[in-house]
Amino acid sequence: MKKLILTVPVVLLVTILLSLSSILDAAEGVINGGDLVYTKPVKSVIFSHKVHVEDKGLGCAACHSGLFDAKALTAQGKSDFNMDSLYKGKYCGACHNGKTAFASNTQCARCHIGVKGYTAFKTQPVSSQGILAGPKQPITIGKGDSAVKFKHASHTGSFGCDACHSAIFPMKSGKTKVTMEPIYNGRYCGTCHNGKKAFAASDCTRCHTKTPAPKMPLVYKPKGAAPVKFSHDFHAGAFKCDECHKKLFAMQKNGSKMKMDAMYEGKFCGKCHNGKTASPATDCDKCHKG
């Protein structure tokens, strides 16, 4: 039996190196983290994301790259989160040192809003204290029809920023080259999207909404037999991606060395084309046309 060489005109989901193409400009179009009110070690200190992000134009990474965890208010759980640390240049003190911004041992009540401020903050409508974060617009991963639009909003409802940042995804555009292989191996999106914590990454169309399957048929040209046109369009209408991929067919050009003998034994196309589920593989000219 001749080797069938797979030619995949539009290789999707696997081999394209997906890149985070959208530029994350922190100062633009970002839902900032809202107002945070720290209650420890004293009640209470306000931090306004708006002032720092929108008014001062600081990017997320200015603070969320070592200075502060991305999850709100984690700093106040640490024992060294106090004024002495600030004076030594930790936390807020990294900028509030009298050079970059006003010194942290001056203008106490500019940040310390006190119990009165805390009470006023708590009586605000919830929406204005929202601790949603991330860019408003979806992050586009990859290019063309196979691109995935990641929406921060649908994830930040259940998770803090630090669930993904920066251990899984650095907060820098284009930094992460996401491909499916590592996702299946439990990296990137696959950390959660493993069928246990969240829907499995093999549920392709949940993310790759635009192009569930290539429109163009795959053409196999075996030696000594008529070519075979495999219509993804037709099959994807009836089956999900993961019913064939990757247990029957690798999602890679020339990935599956198909032979007719194997098909008769129920492998490759023979899994369905066995005369029961679909037409038998022995029905040669059903596929080998021309």
Partner: protein, 251 residues
Amino acid sequence: MNLKKIDLETLKKEDHEKVSPIERREFLKIGLTIGGIFAGGTILSVVSNMSRVFASPEEFSEKYPYKPHYSMVIRQDKCIDCERCLEACAMTNDVPEYGYRTTILEKEVLDAIGQKKEFIPVLCNHCNNPPCVRACPTKATYKDKKTGIVMMEYGKCIGCKTCVVACPYNARYFNEKKHAIDKCNFCFDTRLSKGEKLTACAAACPAGVRIFGDLSDANSEVYKLIHQLAKPVWALRPEVGAKPNVFYMKG
């Protein structure tokens, strides 16, 4: 804090260099009679906002011979309204929710550059010339002869609330449980008489706002803070003439 007591003889300021020490002294005496703003009328303004001086501490201690002369300096700009002082006060002195012995006022300064809010802790000023004591018909409230603390004798109080009206600092409330007026007494019964050096509020303050001590002791921090010249010190509502023992400053 570097606090230096500045000798008037060596004090140098532009515009004043030609003024002889004798003239300066005359000026102080005039100020003493005209000003009479602060404790005992002996703190007065020498150069408008630049510095304030006790003309003669000896004279002051003669007129108000309290020993110890309890006093408090409030470093106003350090207050962050954490209200630990209020909690400590309420716990120590069994203050109900509807009243207070000390509280924190809030002042918005909208046209300020930077910090637009100030917190001002207030309490009984333990005035040297207390209007409440004069107003009390039963002598239930009195100025303690030893310490200068304005105290209450709850049994004598008939709850007429005249003192509440008379107090220029709004430092008194009617305690229903005691069925008497209650007020700050610098924690005299609960702490000072038991050997503690600080009031509950001063001990609880994490920011060093409330400096409590003995004004008759030249080595105490309150004395040094009030007598330094670098930063202005003021009292609340000086026009009332109550001559308070609670002072305010920044820095």
